[in-house]
């Protein structure tokens, strides 16, 4: 069985691009604000996908490698216009952010020796550490539910912090170990 397609309706690539450009531009602050935006634009306003299809696309976006929100866009784009649609959703979503990041990069490189900017960045750096910790806290609450999961995260922490192993290797190994540990049980 395949993912249900609704290519039959007439939706132009330009329209898809514009909608995803809008989503990418106005959704500040990461995945969660983007999801509400997605839902409003795609399901309620344009009716390109149904609510169920939307939820399925989100789940799929989380199950595939890459940023989930981008992958959700790819799913929806692919359903609407195959590979071209998928490509257009990526372009739309990252366009504004990339542009601003480049402008900030230019500004950053030119003014980095400025004393005031240095202290601003010091404050921001500290906040980013707090932000990372809050993400870790939220992720841990969602994923660490039994002692096996605790072992997994401790093992990978030690592997990276003390033994300096390659993170990609750690992730691949964790996936394989997960298959061995959880694979049999879930049947």
């Amino acid at each position: 069985m395949r993912f249900p397609m609704n290519t039959s309706r007439n939706i132009s690539l330009k329209n898809i691009f514009l909608v995803f450009l809008k989503i990418g531009t106005f959704a500040f602050g990461g995945v969660y604000s983007m999801l509400t935006f997605f839902e409003k634009e795609l399901v309620e306003k344009h009716k390109w996908v149904t609510h169920e299809e939307f939820i399925e696309s989100v789940a799929l976006g989380q199950m595939t490698p890459g940023p989930p929100i981008i992958n959700t866009g790819i799913c929806i784009g692919y359903k609407l216009k195959k590979i071209k649609g998928a490509l257009v959703t990526i372009l739309g979503q990252v366009f504004t952010g990339t542009l601003i990041a480049i402008i900030l990069a230019i500004f950053y490189l030119k003014t980095r020796d400025n004393v005031l900017l240095e202290s601003i960045l010091k404050g921001i750096g500290a906040a980013v550490v707090g932000l990372l910790l809050s993400i870790i806290y939220k992720m841990a609450r969602g994923t660490i539910k039994d002692y096996k999961a605790v072992l997994f995260s401790m093992a990978s922490f030690i592997a990276l912090a003390i033994f300096k192993l390659n993170p990609i290797a750690i992730i691949l190994f964790a996936g394989f170990a997960g298959f061995l540990v959880f694979g049999r049980k879930s049947k």
Binding site: R2, A86, I102, Y108, A127, M139
Partner: protein, 160 residues
């Protein structure tokens, strides 16, 4: 510039990027890496935008465009393949079980990198205070991280 295996959220890529750019190739310092995360967070769109920032810092416009292509190409290819075989993938015991192992592992990886970056960023009581209050704000309220970062920048301008 390859960062393919970012499973389950943009934040997963942080340990990978830190390892590659800072420790292996020494293209960035830890402080510059923190700045890049901040940029990714305050700009609209997904956090991966920070790759454009890193790319620009390394080799100008070409670098940032290249970084964006490399970031999204694997997503595009894999997700498209998955969508075509959606139901087989969803039911796959292998995929589900593997993810159960990967997700907690990622928590451990992130923690390790956060500590490493904390050593660079938290140099005195004020920076430590900013980090702790940022953490508490983000955990206990639904405040947008963008405001926390901007607020920290303002505090930094006055006190650091």
């Amino acid at each position: 510039m390859v960062n393919t295996l970012t499973i389950g959220g943009g934040f997963v890529m942080i340990p990978l990027l830190q390892k590659e750019f800072v420790e292996k190739y020494h293209w960035l310092t830890n402080q510059e890496f923190l700045d890049a995360i901040a940029v990714g967070q305050v700009t609209p769109g997904p956090l991966t935008v920070m790759n454009a920032f890193i790319g620009y810092k390394l080799s100008g416009i070409v670098g940032s465009i290249l970084a964006m292509i490399c970031t999204y190409l694997p997503s595009l290819v894999i997700t498209t393949i998955v969508v075509r075989n959606y139901y087989i993938y969803k039911e796959s015991v292998f995929v589900n079980a593997s993810f159960k192992g990967i997700k907690p592992a990622v928590v451990g990886l992130l923690l390790s990198v956060a500590l490493l970056l904390a050593k660079t960023a938290l140099v005195d009581y004020i920076t430590a205070g900013i980090a702790v209050s940022g953490f508490l704000l983000l955990v206990s309220t639904r405040i947008d991280p963008t405001f926390v970062i901007i607020g920290a920048g303002i505090l930094g301008a006055f006190f650091l």
